[in-house]
Point group: C2
Chain length 186, copies 2
């Protein structure tokens, strides 16, 4: 299936990243989502098992059945070469303003997997892009605030400020991340 470029959901990316770190069953993935602060993914079986099936159909993961012939086969999934390629491809995608606005969680998720999957250089590049886009969005929000200051009540204004501060914090975080990675063995 050459459709490596197709879009995938955040949940699918999360699953791909998790089993890239270490192969595991659907239940293992559910446990991670249920017990760690990883993203905000539902650990519901109705989400995870179908997602695993889709990934398998895509040729990105392969399930190895543990107990042959049993009614409830336990399956341990691992990444195929194609799956590794697909994951890498998605982690290397440029950071766009749209991502920053509509899919910030997805970006942090990508980041969490980057060091292991695409290495230090690419991670640094990601952080630089992230910082740049966050800062540019802060500027545009500040312009909006100036323009609309008059017509906004206290809470609408505070809500807008929430956005500004949030993206400022994100830019700062990226800056600190850059330092941390630069300090890492070159």
């Amino acid at each position: 299936m050459g459709e490596s470029g197709s879009k995938i959901s955040t949940l699918s990316l999360a699953i791909l990243g998790l089993i890239a770190q270490r192969p595991g069953s659907g239940y293992d993935i559910r446990k991670v989502f249920a017990t760690t602060p990883m993203g905000s993914f539902s650990s519901s079986p109705g989400a995870i098992y179908p997602a695993l099936k889709r990934l398998e159909k895509n040729g990105w993961v392969r399930g190895e059945i543990q107990n042959e012939g049993m009614l409830r086969p336990k399956q341990v999934f691992s990444l195929t070469d194609e799956g590794k390629r697909a994951l890498r491809e998605r982690l290397l995608l440029p950071v766009t303003r749209d991502d920053i606005i509509w899919n910030l969680d997805g970006l942090i998720l990508r980041f969490a997997f980057m060091e292991l999957v695409v290495g230090r250089e690419a991670t640094l590049q990601f952080l630089h892009q992230y910082q740049r886009e966050a800062e540019s969005y802060v500027e545009s929000l500040e312009r909006t605030r100036e323009e609309m200051k008059a017509q906004m009540n206290t809470s609408a204004n505070l809500a807008l400020e929430h956005g500004i501060e949030s993206y400022r914090m994100n830019a700062d975080w990226a800056k600190r991340g850059i330092k941390a990675f630069e300090a890492l063995k070159g």
Copy 2:
């Protein structure tokens, strides 16, 4: 329809809040979503018109047809009394930890409408709850970091710190919001 307590999507809440501020057409709502930093809602007609229909079926909004007999009737929607009640009800819901984790955007959206719809006292109460839950979640994330520090690589650790800083910022924002509202005429 007495199902005022039923759950509604963030998009529906956003629409309800918008037309609470001033009645408008589906197109007006689309414009707001497309041109202001309000939430992160798609302005796609396939989302908004069906949502308006659902709200109308619920008895929460009423559309007044502008040009009788035409093929494409322009409709201006306004809140019904039931709609006002339903909106108020949802804005007054307590801030839970689950909201903070899974639906922070929804909370900010609620906040943006609060001053107008439920007034200063309720807004202040909301902000206090928000601050408390954000701070408590920061503490729990910090505990997680201590526990997992050893087993995490640089990027996973930074991703966790992103969460910590983000919620700290949220707590600070709420604190500032409280001051701003307390400064308002009592």
